[in-house]
Homo-oligomer: 392 residues x 2
């Protein structure tokens, strides 16, 4: 078993009506002025933004608002947010939305406290030393950003999608009312469920020794998300199913499912980041589209682990070899993705990759042959190219 650190300081307020406590939670942070950060019109239309603002008003907390975050959140809006925060002397950011809004809020938080270009953190040039704290009202179960240390931003200059992780980015609190996710379109619910599962699967597939306690938690989390995702395809307003998926989303990316397992693979996330930067696809859908190709490619290197996954998560009966069992597990997972109407090929998303595009993706993903990705098999630029090609 590997040594590990586990740090999840985010206070979670989970359940029906929990957003009513937002004003009090912000008040407890002892801040002066708040930026309420959000995305599209849906939080406005459903009245949530009004309720949040009313809650802040009741506590007499001054605030200003900045909307307009889009999926695969953009660096240009982050710059705008940094300017706004400095101008208005903001010292707390309240993110009302899903992963894109939270990630954008984290980036603004880092940027306000940094003299240089906030992209320095995402391009790997610098480590953040300070940040404006962030609180969350979650409206989409998917990214797990409400409890994670990570944030992913897309730089329109070159359409590079890059992540940055720091404990400074852990939200102070996360208000999680599963009812707020009931109106999500089916496609977004499904894509979110894939995203949640992938945060655990990225950690689960590794070449380290493992921790029995963590493995069982991960396997149960995956089974729970699969079961409840299927329920939500038919009953989008099933509260308990929404709640199971929402809590799984947080536990899947707060570090719990990586304890003692040495970090995980994360190649699929790197593969998807380039797709998402180039084609603006939903993150979970992009992950589903490349996972099967990745899994088949690395299966020989991680056969025992794929076999354990197949049996314990997918309910496959053991076959004549770990590799054969593992392959059945991969097929079963693709079948599950199909039941959620998720892609299992890049072309399923309406994207027909050209030879030139595959080469561009492989170049970007390998940072022009300067890095490998993944650990089940360390993937070179040419491996990555082949995985994109097989995923077409």
């Amino acid at each position: 078993m590997e040594n590990f650190q586990y740090y999840t300081p985010t206070k979670v307020i989970f359940g029906k009506g929990s957003e009513k406590q937002v004003g009090k939670l912000v008040r407890q942070q002892g801040c002066g002025k708040v930026l309420v950060h959000y995305g599209s019109g849906s939080v406005v239309r459903c009245g949530l933004l009004n309720r949040i603002c009313a809650s802040l008003d009741r506590e007499e907390i001054p605030y200003t608002t900045l909307g307009g975050v889009v999926p695969n959140p953009r660096l240009s809006l982050v710059y705008q947010g940094i300017d706004l925060c400095r101008r208005e002397k903001i010292d707390f950011i309240l993110a009302v939305g899903g992963g894109s809004v939270i990630d954008s809020a984290k980036a603004i938080g880092y940027g306000v406290k940094y003299d240089g270009d906030v992209w320095d953190f995402y391009s790997g040039k610098q480590q953040a030393e300070d940040s404006i704290p962030v609180g969350v009202v979650l409206t989409i179960s998917a990214a797990g950003s409400e409890m994670s240390d990570s944030s992913v931003i897309t730089n329109e200059d070159g359409w590079l999608k890059r992540g940055y992780s720091s404990d400074l980015g852990r939200a102070r609190f996360a208000v999680m009312n599963p009812e707020l996710t009931m109106t999500l379109p089916k496609y977004q619910t499904a894509s979110g469920c894939v995203d949640i599962m992938m945060h655990t699967m990225e950690r689960y597939f590794n070449r380290s020794e493992n921790m029995e306690l963590t493995d069982g938690i991960s396997e149960h989390l995956l089974r729970t998300v699969m079961k409840n995702a299927k329920i939500l395809m038919k009953e989008p307003d099933n509260y308990n199913a929404r709640a199971e998926v929402m809590w799984a989303g947080s536990l899947s990316h707060n570090g719990l499912t990586g304890c003692g397992t040495g970090g995980g693979d994360w190649a699929c996330h790197q593969l998807e980041h380039e797709l998402g930067g180039m084609f603006d696809v939903a993150h979970g859908a992009g992950l589903a589209a490349v996972w099967g190709s990745w899994a088949r490619y690395v299966l020989p290197e991680g056969a025992a682990r794929f076999a354990q996954f197949a049996v314990n998560v997918m309910g496959v009966d053991p076959k004549e070899s770990d590799e054969a069992t593992g392959l059945k597990g991969i097929e079963a997972m693709e079948m599950f993705y199909r039941t959620l109407e998720m892609p299992v090929k890049i072309s399923d998303m309406g994207i027909l990759l050209t030879e030139e595009q595959m080469n561009e993706l492989a170049d970007k993903c390998s940072h022009f042959r300067k890095r490998t990705v993944g650990c089940v098999k360390r993937l070179t630029r040419d491996d990555v190219y082949q995985i994109y090609r097989n995923a077409r």
Copy 2:
């Protein structure tokens, strides 16, 4: 599913050699002077205390020491610690030990910042509003106090053992090296495993709706502890088994296994607190001694839950009724306790309760008929008496 809060701010540093980081971790807290709090001579004899002090010296952190904490930690030493901290202007307490040392450290922390008697918190008269922060170097896997909000202190005046819970008592960091637990006597290892399991079982048995994700995590945690406890009876220096049990100890009492389940029962803890106050028994052993009696007494009220426990945790085949299945599960758990050489009756600990003592225990446990305990069945003073009697 019930609404819940989840708050685990403790930074965990887990694994081999992790205690070397103590000086740096304390330094990060920005404190002035530290109290190093510990128990008996074992941390001195094994050289751990020296290594901790050397780590503080390397960071040039001033400190003073206070040893002498005993199992079922005493209020008198807490008073001594409070005086010492005030005199020496201590602003951080480093607990080096197991649950008793950590609980004593938390109590000292509350007391230093309070003008009245620190027992006010444990007797339910007051809520703490401030505290000196605590850090932990864990040497016993059992109480889970390294991540929990709780602390239990015994008042020698009347031998009352009482708990107090507050988020102020959550440790800032917990250094957890499983190697440090390898020299524990077999009885203490076994007693610790029971304690760990009971923190999840207390939450698991309830009358609320439940959360599938939490249930599965709890059931897997219990199976993992049982499996590794048996390994440790034969191989006390099995690192992976020590690590599984140690991490289970923290997850079992940091709140994770209670998410969405509405709080849990906790009657066995109340029953054991009176036993522990009167006879100074090891906490886990005391819990094992009363659990079977409690479980049989409340089984009719919680038959479905006991049946789920029997099947998913104890591997029992379903019988003709939930109650029959549940009973088999209770018997299987008692059989497991016996394999650890743990008591399943109070007399197994060499204590032959008199009629007078049973009445005194029942009076104290029910606060002289002023409260009920438990929720699977709300137990009155007379129920409690009967459970003690059946557990003789």
